[in-house]
Symmetry: C2
Subunit: 141 residues, 2 copies
DNA sequence: CTATGTTATGAGACTTTGTCTCAATTGAAA
DNA sequence: TTTCAATTGAGACAAAGTCTCATAACATAG
């Protein structure tokens, strides 16, 4: 069996270095800016790669895990809403383990965002800030 | 034709006050905290309502428009990623009209988030801040 | 270098979330 | 009460993503 060149493919703990992953990574490296799984798959196709859609979807989280790519904007399963009465705008701390949310509101943070928008001549309509991590309970466990 | 009671249903500019919307709103009011369209639909079903899934999906943006509910977390069509090399963490200004993104980084904003997390004993892992609005070009048009 | 066990892969079915169409119904205003 | 545009239900459709399972490809021990 011929050994193909996998030298560009970095090792990821507990994962095999495969040609498929290598191909995907190469396509990512050739990509400008942000990308999504479909773009990646389309690019691979157009380069004649036989990599499957399933592999693209399977490989992405592995590359995130390996610190090779970052998740910029994650699809949440569904949109969420809340009654306005409950509102008074707030942002969220979301626990990665238990999924619980803590709401908070920081006027300083709001002002800071206004400054940033002003600098870019951006007309702010709304925003969402989600801080992901571990809540007190889950940290203690 | 009998006039059913729509008194709880507030008027929304350019929209009819209908029984279906009233039912949906009542279900929302009976709901605790955040909800998503499916939860809402399930609740209506379990109450014996004949309201269709399509109507639930159609009504939600109308209630948002009428200021009756807020969008807490919007589903983007797909997940986005970026190469780590490009990274140097940043947040995003996203234009609602043209979909363009402007990246920015504010150390002050980062610190502020650390303070918030500290106050809640929350162990921050990562966050995403997206400010939605209109970019300069789109504002000028 | 080869055998062996485990992990990864492709194909396509399936699921979930959301959108769209169109005929039938309903609200509102005259 | 009539009239007509807005709304609705049903179900087809679409897009993004997940899952299964037979087959293929790694890794490593021999």
């Amino acid at each position: 069996m011929k050994r193909k060149n996998l030298q560009e493919m970095p090792a990821i703990e507990g994962r095999r270095r495969t040609l498929v992953r290598q191909e995907i990574l190469t396509a990512i490296n050739a990509m400008e800016g942000h990308f999504d799984p479909q773009m990646l798959y389309d690019r691979l196709k157009s380069e004649g790669s036989k990599v499957s859609r399933a592999s693209v979807y399977r490989t992405i989280p592995i590359l995130v895990e390996g610190g090779i790519i970052n998740e910029v904007e994650k699809t949440e399963k569904h949109a969420h809403y809340e009654k306005v009465t409950e509102n008074k705008h707030h942002d969220h701390l979301i626990c990665l383990r238990c999924g619980g949310t803590i709401e908070f509101y920081s006027p300083t943070l709001e002002m800071l965002q206004d400054e940033i928008c002003q600098k870019e001549c951006f007309r702010r309509v709304r925003h969402s800030l989600e801080i992901l991590g571990l809540c007190r309970e889950c940290t203690e466990k």
